[in-house]
Symmetry: C2
Subunit: 462 residues, 2 copies
């Protein structure tokens, strides 16, 4: 069996914790592993890392790779040049499998941002679905509705099969009245967004129903690079797999997903899966409450003190604070869109940015300068690089630094500093067993992450 | 006429904007001048700066001086060694006047944290009160109740005088039922906390009703220093002037304060005096709202985005975020007390601290180091100082620095840096017309603002 993980989501609905450059699937929302890592590890219990294809937007490629490499460096990540909803991403991933493995393989297609804890039950449903997939069905995983949810699509089943059911119809997100009706009827299920089928069967359906996508697949060449060519992708329509294939195909079956399942698509849904204190609150970080009930208070860095409020979500990050009513938390997307339209950097990046070698936090920005604290993890090094428009000044705070500057090496201890002039080749390295922390002061007329020329990089970013 | 400004308030009720070290009276809440500066300027319209005595806790002395010097350096500030409520502060200030001016002078005693905009009306009431004060009365300024406020004390008047009334009784903060009754009756007024009387009359009443305070006044010697001796103050009881004198004296009269008047004692009261937008919101700073009503959203530094909330207060400062229900904003004091009990630094200082020469912001703190950005205003200089336990490393970001290090002078431009070893005498100076901004990295086993030895200081802090 193979699988495709869809990891192209944007960062709007859990803003300010999620960002354009750091979407939901990269977040460790309920434990130390991110949703992506949990998804990968779950599939990794029934297949090897090299059988799991993860597809994502090229802008998230580095971070996705970084996270998956921590589990198994044998992972395969395909990069889309732009987001085009699920159908093109799935089609291209299927084409990769067609070129690189057996066309009759069964493939499990799963989003990267669902929370599933009962892996045993999940795997049992996967085994059931596999029977139908081998019979030529495209199998959807349905969830028995727990409530009249209006945020999900519904699937109406038809006659029973050896396992599961034939599918009669897909129903798009209904209004409350309909959702209420569906959730009480036996033959309706929530659409989990998880599918299974043979590579060949999927591709046949793409050929039949979305020739605009299918006809371009033969232009893909994965032998040199897993980054999809912009020109090939550009001409494909932006469309969901539900709309493009699932709602049209007559080969659709359904098995009930017997594990727990949560789409953490809003602060409210995240709140719902967390353990509450005696006042019904979920708190994280430096939070102080007084007469607060049924609320989600999250502090990333600073003190958040709340008094006399109920049913609210308050989230503090280093550069943005969000507060909303719990049952309206889906409107965070509107705040995000508004902030994006006024070009607030808070929609794009976190103040702290993770890199393969560690992380940095922007502290001060002013006329012609930018200061960062940089943490280099033990045994890691930044690329050998130079900048055309800025000088850098480094002061070691903690640990020990090995600095390459031009042809020379310098060893710096806490309190010691060094200047890196414009255009000088340099590298900051930490060949020791302790974290290295430095302050970096960048100065110049043009200060941008783009102003970097890489000469050598252990993480393959040259 | 003389006046005494009571500027000893703590910083709990408008936390996190107010802090223990930066209380309400120092804040510019409605315009560019702080409440203290507004109070001083208001009195300054009818008397000279040297007739206005400001008394405050010694820990606020520097900041009070800094603010008043901006208006008139002829101001007089007396420092209490500790807070002991209003009676000892007033008695000591009266003793200063007894020693330094005419015992028959009339003195106006006013809190430093009230908002009064109509200065003409205020001065008219002051003139009326002066008539009664010269007749030997202690005159309180009463406010015609606008609502059944339970947060103020009430004053019941008796028979009419030439101007104003005799006072029958002081009533402490009533419950709602009583407040409702009082606010509808002709002869009840709110107690504004502003008083007037002859120095000699006040002192006679202290002698009669609070001998514990009065008997120690002759130990005060203001000829060398305006800082009250700890030993003299220590033995005085902690008591309010209302309780100690006003409620007991039979010389009390009342004139109606005809100006506007607000005690900005809570976020709600501050909200009430601000201009609202079409949704009834008061916003300040980088604030974005979506379906928010009748709320006060204040951002000092970062983006604050709020959705689908009503009647809330949300305040963001550099190191603390506070959210509460508007009509429960008096409970912020509880949050403050709780934070204080767990020794949260956010109750004490702001991350940005103002000094006579400019300000600094703490950025990062870690094992053995602390980093600050420091801004030195044009033509200002820090004291010549040394540190026993820490070295400092300075990097110029903007402007130009004159650094005294040992016997030598150094001129540093943006991007240039210098090391100040432990125990080395040094001074950071900005003799230019542009702001100087630097990054300071402090390093050492013991890092504290206490570790400073001052040799020369243009602000008299040696």
């Amino acid at each position: 069996m193979k699988s495709i993980i869809l990891a192209g989501g944007s960062g709007s609905r859990l803003w300010p914790l999620s960002r354009d450059m750091y979407p939901k699937q990269l977040l460790a929302l309920d434990k130390s592993e991110s949703l992506l890592q949990q998804t990968f590890s779950r599939l990794n219990t029934i297949m090897s890392a090299s059988d799991i294809i993860t597809i994502t937007n090229v802008k998230h490629y580095q971070d996705i790779k970084l996270q998956l490499n921590k589990i198994d460096s044998g992972n395969i990540v395909i990069a889309e040049p732009q987001g085009k909803n699920t159908a093109p991403a799935i089609a291209c991933s299927l084409e990769y499998l067609r070129q690189n493995s057996n066309n009759d393989d069964v493939v499990l297609i799963a989003p990267s941002d669902h929370l599933i804890k009962d892996i045993e039950a999940f795997n049992k449903s996967v085994k059931e679905a596999e029977i139908l997939a081998n019979e030529g069905y495209i199998v959807t995983f349905g969830i028995k509705p727990l409530s009249p949810e209006t945020g999900f699509g519904y699937i109406k089943t038809d006659k029973k099969l050896s396992v599961g059911y034939r599918v009669e119809q897909f129903v798009e997100k209904p209004n409350y009245e309909k959702a209420n009706k569906y959730s009480k009827e036996e033959d309706y299920y929530w659409n989990s967004g998880i599918f299974m089928g043979k590579v060949s069967v999927f591709l046949d359906e793409f050929k039949k129903y979305v020739p605009d996508i299918y006809s371009n697949l033969n232009l893909l060449n994965f032998s040199n690079s897993l980054k999809i060519d912009f020109g090939v992708y550009e001409v494909m329509p932006t469309i969901s797999v539900d709309y493009a294939v699932m709602e049209k195909s007559d080969k659709i079956a359904l098995v009930e997903l017997q594990s727990d399942w949560r789409d953490l698509g809003s602060w409210q849904s995240l709140y719902s899966v967390k353990a509450k204190d005696e006042n019904g609150n979920v708190t994280s970080g430096k939070v102080l409450t007084n007469n607060v009930k049924n609320s989600f208070i999250y502090s990333q860095k600073e003190v958040v003190a709340v008094s006399d409020l109920e049913d609210v979500v308050i989230v503090e990050t280093e550069d943005a604070i969000m507060a909303c009513k719990m049952d309206k938390s889906q409107n965070v997307k509107k705040l995000y869109e508004n902030l994006k339209s006024i070009q607030s950097g808070t929609t794009r990046l976190h103040k702290t940015v993770f890199r393969p070698w560690g992380y940095y936090t922007c502290m001060n920005e002013g006329d012609g300068y930018l200061t960062k604290t940089i943490c280099v993890l033990p045994q890691q090094k930044l690329s050998v690089q130079s900048h055309n428009y800025r000088s850098e000044h480094w002061v070691v705070l903690e640990g020990e630094a090995l600095v390459i500057k031009g042809d020379k090496e310098y060893h710096l201890n806490p309190g010691e500093s060094i200047d890196i002039p414009v255009k000088e080749k340099h590298s900051l390295q930490n060949p020791y067993d302790k974290e290295l922390k430095i302050i970096e002061v960048q100065q110049g007329d043009y200060i941008s992450e783009e102003d970097i020329i890489r000469y050598q990089d252990v993480y393959g970013r040259v």
